[in-house]
């Protein structure tokens, strides 16, 4: 695969009609240490086309955007802007060429007005003073012209995320942009807002701006784009003319991967029900009814933002439920705090190691023992020996590669950090383990170790909720797979009862 030209014939034909392409990638590649985020990719963007890019989470889409906008530098390969080789080493350089990006999360100043944001870094000044009224009037004229019914003089932070997204787009459109990248722009938009955005995108296209449109929503890809490229596991697997392909083909290209045989799965007889939810609702999810038995892995699959993390956070007492009921080992419970969840026997290894899972600037031993300090404390003090023994045992048990329990967690690799996150809950012990994206940014070897660890927990009679955005992982490991979409649990499948295509279609909502 690597080094071959991944373009389909039809794509080549379409490109031949355009003159010099506005942007061309040859063998563009990005590695982060051992992780191959983007394998050498060849891709041509024609002037004035809308080029969609699709792929699963972690397929390399965001790496590609960051390379194109100069946020990260490439490991190897070449980029040609209008036929000239360019470095694209800094965001500034990308902006100079007219390359801009509108991100899923708005990168603007919430405390400034809409007009101030639109002109930020490029203000109108007369005699050293800002021409505020002029700028507000101009901004308002631009917004009116685009058909956005938004005021230019209010603070950006007072608008909804969707409205802010429209402002970010309008801002990019007035800055001499020639190449505009949209990263999941409709994730937070209402239907009306999305329609306004599409109108703006078509208008930009008419003006000759090249659009790169990244989205999970295939219906949008078919509605908007001229061509579509597919990324899978960091490899650019193909480019199609949109009118010559269909959803089935795109989905099969997105997931047709070489299944690495790392998924260690053992089957255990299902035991008693540990936890059961009935029509549970809360911030970000609603009406979820599921149950977990001991010896069983329940997988939650869905796109990012589908409400899976919010759901488990609520089980763990981090967020209050707003409706429905919750049963722990047959008894109705109301979990109000993390402490209460832990005391019942629930452990959560959260999604973000850095933000939620670890005290990154503290030693390995400290992190491993953090949940059990109350247990090993004697007469108000933490005995040094207990602290040391427990930490050393976990380090040996999990084969954490570290210089010792005194090493800072920040010095460890991603895989070893994840082992610490899991290790601290093994140390604590629990009946129900919740793993939220346990293998993100983890190398293949460690992944396999983590999967074996899950099996060990099951053998000891625990139950597991496994959240993953990587379909093969939940597909191969979960005894029961739930598909989440926009906060709802929309489907449940027994082990291997549905195909990858079906599940992905359910998650995307085709």
């Amino acid at each position: 695969m690597v080094g071959t030209n991944p373009h389909g014939q039809t794509a080549e034909a379409a490109v031949a009609t355009a003159s010099v392409p506005i942007l061309e990638l040859r063998g563009l590649e990005k590695r982060y240490g051992a992780t191959h985020a983007l394998k050498p990719a060849d891709l041509i963007f024609a002037r004035g086309e809308i080029h969609a890019i699709v792929g699963e989470n972690g397929a390399g889409k965001s790496t590609l955007i960051k390379l194109l906008t100069g946020v990260i530098t490439r490991t190897s390969g070449e980029v040609f802007w209008e036929g000239q080789p360019v470095a694209l080493a800094t965001p500034h350089e990308a902006i100079e060429f007219g390359i801009n990006a509108v991100h899923q999360e708005v990168v603007l100043c919430r405390h400034l007005t809409v007009a101030a944001n639109m002109f930020l870094g490029d203000e109108d000044v007369g005699f050293g003073l800002l021409k505020k009224r002029d700028m507000t009037r101009k901004a308002q004229a631009i917004l009116d012209d685009l058909g956005f019914q938004l005021p230019a003089h209010v603070l950006l932070g007072d608008l909804t995320i969707g409205q802010q997204q429209l402002i970010a787009t309008a801002r990019a459109s007035i800055r001499g942009t020639r190449f505009l990248i949209f990263d999941e722009p409709t994730a937070y938009l209402t239907r009306t807002e999305a329609a306004q955005l599409f109108a703006l995108i078509r208008r930009l296209k008419e003006r000759g701006v090249t659009i790169v449109y990244i989205s999970h929503r295939l219906e949008e890809v078919f509605e908007l784009s001229d061509r579509v490229s597919i990324l899978r596991d960091g490899t650019l697997v193909g480019t199609r003319v949109t009118t010559e392909t269909n959803e089935t083909e795109l989905i099969s290209l997105m997931i047709n991967r070489s299944l690495e045989q790392i998924y260690h799965k053992e089957f255990f007889p299902a035991g008693d029900v540990l936890i059961e939810t009935k029509n549970l609702s809360g911030p970000g999810f609603r009406d979820v009814s599921l149950s977990v038995r001991s010896g069983q892995i329940v997988g939650l699959y869905g796109l990012i933002g589908a409400g899976r993390s919010e759901f488990v956070m609520s089980l763990f007492g981090r967020q209050r439920r707003t409706g429905g009921s919750l049963f722990w080992q047959g008894k109705e419970v109301d979990i109000r705090s993390e402490r209460q969840a832990m005391d019942l026997g629930i452990a959560l290894a959260p999604e973000s190691r850095r933000d939620q899972g670890l005290c990154i600037n503290l030693p390995v031993g400290f992190n491993l023992n953090l949940p059990i300090f109350p247990r090993i404390t004697m007469a108000g003090l933490v005995p040094f020996s207990a602290d040391r023994q427990r930490a050393d045992r976990q380090i040996a048990d999990l084969q954490v590669k570290t210089s010792g329990r005194g090493a800072l967690v920040s010095s460890l690799s991603g895989g070893n950090q994840q082992k610490i996150v899991i290790g601290k809950w093994l140390n604590h012990g629990a009946k129900l383990f919740i793993f939220d994206e346990p293998t993100v940014g983890v190398d293949v070897g460690t992944k396999a170790e983590i999967y074996r660890l899950l099996a060990r927990l099951l053998a000891e009679g625990a139950g597991i909720i496994l959240i993953s955005s990587y379909l093969p992982e939940v597909y191969e490991l979960a005894d029961e797979l739930h598909v989440f979409r926009r906060g709802e649990d929309i489907a449940r499948h027994a082990y291997h009862a549905a195909s990858h295509e079906e599940i992905l279609s359910e998650a995307i909502g085709v």
Binding site: L112, L120, G121, E123, V154, T160
Partner: protein, 322 residues
């Protein structure tokens, strides 16, 4: 429709910000009214003039401090800069430099200190708290070293009389607040770099990606703060007629308190010039009133602390609601 509601709410909120400014003035006026009813001397000309002189110097410091706080920074050194600059000014005057030269050199010292802070934060990557804490203690030490721990008497009547005299019925010191306040207002609210100070405080990454010179903006904020402090150093030297490195002890906290009472958010990106000015005079009025009411001066400190908690708490409630 939801857009309309949202817009209406946004407009309402911006007028709420105005109301907050009015509330502060209202609080100040209410205190004045209560004090003029309960004490005989509050409304006397001497007392009012005295109050204005007391509040002026902290007010100027607070304006400079506000620039820094809006960028999510903090400048702990301003009190020490004031003390150090009284020494510089006194030393220059006793060595027969003209007043003009003294003013220029002293302000230059302020600029240099601010640039050094910028250097520490931008180039060396030090947290603002640390670099300004370091200069706080170093400048006090340097001032003591220059004077050998003594006080330099200023024998220059033109210089010292300035701070006692009036102009159009207002103390010269109060005119200095206006002299600093108006350009500061125009700079912060109507110039490009003023806006960049807000942008850096709101979202540094967004500012950088928009082509804003973030480093220069940080340099600018700290330089303005130190220069304001140097200017206050000149005013203080004139007012007390001496140069002494230990003067203006704890003024940095008063400046920060004035700024925060005036609506500046320590999380950055929220603040104004008029807010800290009013804040400084609120603090001055509390101290003045407490003196007139014969409140134990130790109590004054406690009251000031409680007031800060109260005002900032209400301010946060207001923000959360919006």
């Amino acid at each position: 429709m939801s857009t309309d509601n949202k817009t209406a709410a946004a407009i309402q909120k911006s007028s709420a910000n105005w109301l907050f400014g009015l509330t502060l003035i209202g609080l100040l006026l209410a205190m004045c009214i209560v004090l003029s009813l309960t004490t005989k001397s509050f409304l006397s000309e001497t007392n009012i003039m005295n109050l204005m002189r007391q509040g002026s110097m902290i007010a100027i410091l607070a304006v400079g401090e506000t620039f820094v706080i809006i960028t999510t920074g903090i400048d702990l050194s301003v009190g020490a800069v004031v003390g150090f600059c009284t020494v510089i000014a006194a030393w220059l005057l006793t060595h027969d430099f003209s007043i003009m030269t003294t003013v220029i050199i002293t302000l230059g010292v302020g600029v240099a200190i601010g640039m050094f802070h910028g250097f520490g934060i931008v180039q060396m990557g030090l947290p603002p708290f640390i670099i300004t804490l370091a200069t706080l203690t170093s400048l006090r030490g340097l001032g003591l070293l220059i004077t050998n721990g003594a006080t330099i008497n200023i024998v220059n009547d033109t210089f010292t009389e300035f701070s006692r005299n009036d102009f159009f019925g207002l103390p010269n010191l109060f005119w200095m607040v206006i002299l600093v306040g108006i350009p500061a207002y125009i700079f912060l609210h109507h110039s490009r770099y003023g806006r960049y100070i807000f942008a850096v405080g709101s979202n540094m990454e967004a500012a950088r990606l928009s082509g804003v010179n973030v480093k220069l903006t940080v340099y600018l904020a700290y330089t303005l703060s130190s220069t304001c402090a140097a200017f206050v150093g000149l005013l203080l030297a004139a007012r007390i007629g001496v140069g002494n490195a230990m003067q203006a002890d704890g003024w940095e906290l008063q400046a920060i308190a004035s700024s925060v009472i005036g609506g500046t958010s320590l999380f950055g990106a929220v603040g104004s010039v008029h807010g800290p000015l009013i804040g400084a005079f609120i603090l001055a009025t509390i101290n003045n009133g407490a003196n007139l009411l014969n409140v134990n001066s130790f109590w004054q400190r406690i009251i000031t602390g409680l007031l800060i908690i109260l005002i900032v708490y209400f301010d946060q409630l207001r923000r959360r609601r919006g």
